[in-house]
């Protein structure tokens, strides 16, 4: 047992670090996701695509890197350290693996290159107003009509669907069987007639998610991925994919550094807030929780190096990872004190014509706090994750 990286791994870290330093676009440096245009958002993805690093976990034949789990860990650490904007998971970690695992050769040829080079923006059509944690209860239907599927229904919580060229949807293709056994996985171009994307504005004021209304949407039968009525299997595969990254350890480490910087600049009774023992101990406790999570993730990675898949224990990484992310935004909100309150309608996307009030680091404290509440709800709520552990790990 030891914590040392091998010389090769250290060399790899150096290579990644200097690549990021030399290639990360100047104009998006230090910016949050919310501040970017669509083109800026995908810029880093496209640079990584040219380098061959945009889909590290994929099989090499489809554009993956063949990195070891430790290399992938180093990769995410270095990206967190440099505050890069990473590609969204929908294409890279979700639909991509479904297509190369279950899709036809035609699907692979048609869709994978656009994911690798970052030219196709994908969104997810899973949740419905009546199907959240009980996702298999979804009602959107796809009915075969000649060479086409005719799709009707309503999807919701579709993240950044307003930018998407393509969407992957779960649709009911057989209403007469057990609910999990009548669902199919269908690809829909977002400019197909009958697809309507309506914004949902969240508590932070941002337009991050959408409703997607599907009215007599027609797509070729070939847009079915894998077998008809096997969509639930593919959805479960997709949701279990890349669970280790979900802990977000490296990003949260960077977040704690930033929180300490804020707490060093804020003042409390003539001293830096960080010198207030009550507040300092809250940060300590958070950092200790994060260290425990980090070593749990390292143990999982060590198991993966030996060929053990991340089992249902990865639900633990999701639960603790999101609790820590939320706590981090909560403490940052506490740290900024009074200046959490000012509301800048349209900030930051409306550009330079707004002069925010209070210190720069305070502007996003409240929106981030509000925004991160989603993390314990999405991707299978933390309660659902506990159900998974109860059943699959503890045998209850």
């Amino acid at each position: 047992m030891n914590l040392e990286f091998s010389p090769e791994e250290n060399a790899f870290r150096e290579e990644v670090r200097s690549f990021i330093e030399e290639n990360y676009p100047e104009e998006i440096k230090g910016k949050d996701r919310e501040e970017l245009t669509k083109e800026q958002f995908v810029a880093w993805h496209q640079i990584l695509g040219k380098k061959g690093w945009s889909v590290p976990s994929w099989p090499v034949e489809y554009g993956g890197t063949g990195w070891t789990p430790t290399q992938k860990y180093i990769w995410s650490e270095e990206n967190a350290r440099a505050d890069t904007i990473m590609p969204l998971p929908f294409a890279v970690s979700m639909v991509g693996p479904v297509i190369y695992t279950f899709g036809s050769q035609e699907h692979k040829d048609k869709y994978l290159p656009g994911i690798v080079d970052g030219t196709t923006w994908w969104c997810q059509g899973f949740s419905e107003p009546g199907a959240g944690s009980d996702l298999a209860g979804l009602k959107t239907t796809a009915v075969r009509d000649g060479d086409e599927w005719v799709i009707n229904g309503q999807k919701t919580w579709t993240t950044l669907g307003q930018h998407a060229e393509m969407g992957f949807f779960l649709c009911r293709t057989n209403p007469d069987v057990k609910k999990q056994e009548g669902i199919s996985f269908i690809l829909i171009p977002m400019d197909t007639p009958g697809v309507e994307v309506r914004p949902i504005i969240m508590t932070d004021g941002g337009h991050e998610v959408n409703e997607v209304w599907l009215t007599d949407v027609r797509v070729p039968v070939d847009n079915l991925v894998g077998e008809e009525n096997k969509g639930w299997t593919y959805a479960k595969f997709l949701l279990a994919h890349e669970r280790t990254g979900i802990a977000g350890v490296a990003r949260s480490k960077r977040g704690i550094e930033k929180l300490r910087e804020v707490a060093a600049m804020e003042h409390d009774n003539g001293k830096p807030l960080i010198a207030n023992p009550d507040f300092a101990e809250k940060i300590s406790q958070l950092e200790i929780d994060l260290t425990a999570l980090e070593f749990t993730e390292l143990r999982t990675i060590a198991g993966m190096q030996k060929g053990k898949g991340p089992g249902p224990e990865s639900s633990l990484l999701k639960i603790k990872g999101t609790e820590i992310q939320q706590r981090l935004t909560e403490l940052t909100l506490e740290a900024v004190g009074n200046y959490a309150a000012p509301y800048f309608r349209g900030f930051p996307t409306d550009g330079d014509n707004v002069f925010p009030i209070g210190p720069d680091y305070a502007h996003m404290a409240m929106p981030n706090y509000l925004n991160m509440r989603k993390t314990s709800i999405y991707g299978g709520s933390n309660e659902i994750q506990r159900n998974i552990i109860a059943k699959a790990v503890l045998g209850l």
């Binding site: 425990a292 980090e294 070593f295």
Partner: protein
């Protein structure tokens, strides 16, 4: 990065776990802790025979060439079986002082007999009002020619009734709370002027209050330099922390397993109570608390040889995690066991007691959260000033 165990470590785990299963069953254990001596010297001899007492020492020192990971493996099994023999007092603490601070002659005189099980050690550092502060030392060691004379009282010395030797912290100079001026001595427990009051502890061990009245020890019984022992004490105690963190993980594992088993058996409202989601989620949180504790135990064990600040932070972080998790698991396991959980008959209650007292051993959650913060904060403020 490597999280795997060596072949030797796996062998230690397997043979120890077999020994505990075969000769440390629950009834036998309870008879032993209720007996007059409170332990089994013959069990200690078997541990020596298995090589457990030599495991974490270098080959140079006559050991098996292992390190703190070996002690971690041993202590996890001890935790599962609630083994009470003095591995932490004698091997981890006593052995720790000898290997990190002992002179060639001290190692020569004591290490082989410690590893053979003939000599056992206990570390007398706490005092009646020192709480967890290692620098709070009132016991004095006055130089008298080439020897020293000890006076004072040491408190809650785990394992002392079974010890042949004590490691004693005493003040050779300075005031009560000074970091400087603390020295440590190896003192035979039968030295003239030592009286002890021995007692059982709530978690099944034996401990002593120890009174030193003009106890004369030779100058060469001092470990390390006069007045400069605090860093050594801190290092050895951090190793003790790693060891009892591992012990706690073993105890948590059993508490959790017993709870799941009980919940599946126990029926109310005509169904096993394990079918209730509110209990399922509680047991999931117990599982998570145990897993995070195992991770933190790995963390501190692998960082014991790093620089002083890293080691201290690692130890305090682990102790905070284990203290909180141990309390949570102990309480939740008791709650899910219902009335049975508060009986002496069930073994669960004994795991609960040990987990509870591990928190206060070597400093509780509050103490270590403060220590961690003082180390982290120093770095921050200097970083902010740059």
């Amino acid at each position: 990065m490597d999280f795997s165990f060596t072949e030797e470590q796996n062998m230690i785990r397997d043979s120890l776990s077999r020994l505990i299963r075969e000769q440390y069953d629950w009834e036998t254990r309870n008879k032993v802790i209720a007996s007059e001596s409170g332990w089994r010297p013959e069990m200690w001899a078997q541990f020596a025979e298995l090589g457990l007492l030599m495991a974490p020492f270098s080959e140079e020192d006559g050991g098996l060439g292992g390190n703190a990971v070996d002690a971690m493996v041993v202590m996890e099994e001890f935790g599962k079986g609630l083994v009470i023999e003095p591995y932490v007092p004698s091997v981890v603490l006593g052995g720790g002082f000898l290997k990190h601070g002992g002179s060639a002659a001290q190692k020569e005189n004591h290490l082989a007999s410690l590893m053979g099980g003939e000599e056992t050690f206990a570390f007398a550092y706490a005092e009646p009002t020192s709480r967890f502060n290692l620098n709070d030392v009132s016991t004095t060691a006055r130089a008298n020619g080439s020897s020293y004379v000890l006076n004072g009282q040491k408190a809650m010395v785990y394992g002392a009734p079974w010890a042949t030797h004590l490691i004693v912290s005493a003040r050779t100079s300075g005031e009560r709370y000074d970091d400087a001026g603390i020295s440590v001595f190896i003192v035979p427990k039968d030295a003239a002027g030592i009286t002890t009051r021995d007692y059982p502890t709530m978690d099944g061990f034996r401990a002593s209050e120890i009174y030193f009245e003009n106890v004369e020890v030779s100058g060469d019984s001092m470990i390390g330099e006069e007045g400069k022992a605090l860093p050594l004490i801190e290092k050895v105690v951090d190793e003790g922390i790693a060891a009892i963190c591992s012990e706690a993980c073993g105890a948590m594992q059993i508490a959790n397993a017993d709870t799941i088993e009980y919940a599946k058996q126990r029926k109310q409202f005509n169904v096993p109570i394990s079918t209730f989601q509110v209990l399922q989620h509680e047991m999931v949180d117990m599982f998570i608390a145990h897993q995070q504790s195992v991770s933190m135990t790995f963390q501190v064990t692998m960082r014991l040889e790093e620089d002083e600040a890293t080691r201290k932070k690692a130890a305090s972080a682990a102790k905070v995690q284990i203290g909180k998790a141990g309390r949570f698991i102990g309480q939740a396991a008791t709650q899910i066991h219902g009335g049975m959980g508060v009986t002496d008959e069930l073994r669960l209650g004994h795991y609960f007691k040990r987990l509870t007292l591990i928190d206060s051993q070597f400093g509780n959650v509050d103490y270590h959260l403060r220590r961690y913060t003082s180390l982290a904060e120093g770095q921050d403020l200097s970083a902010a000033a740059e």
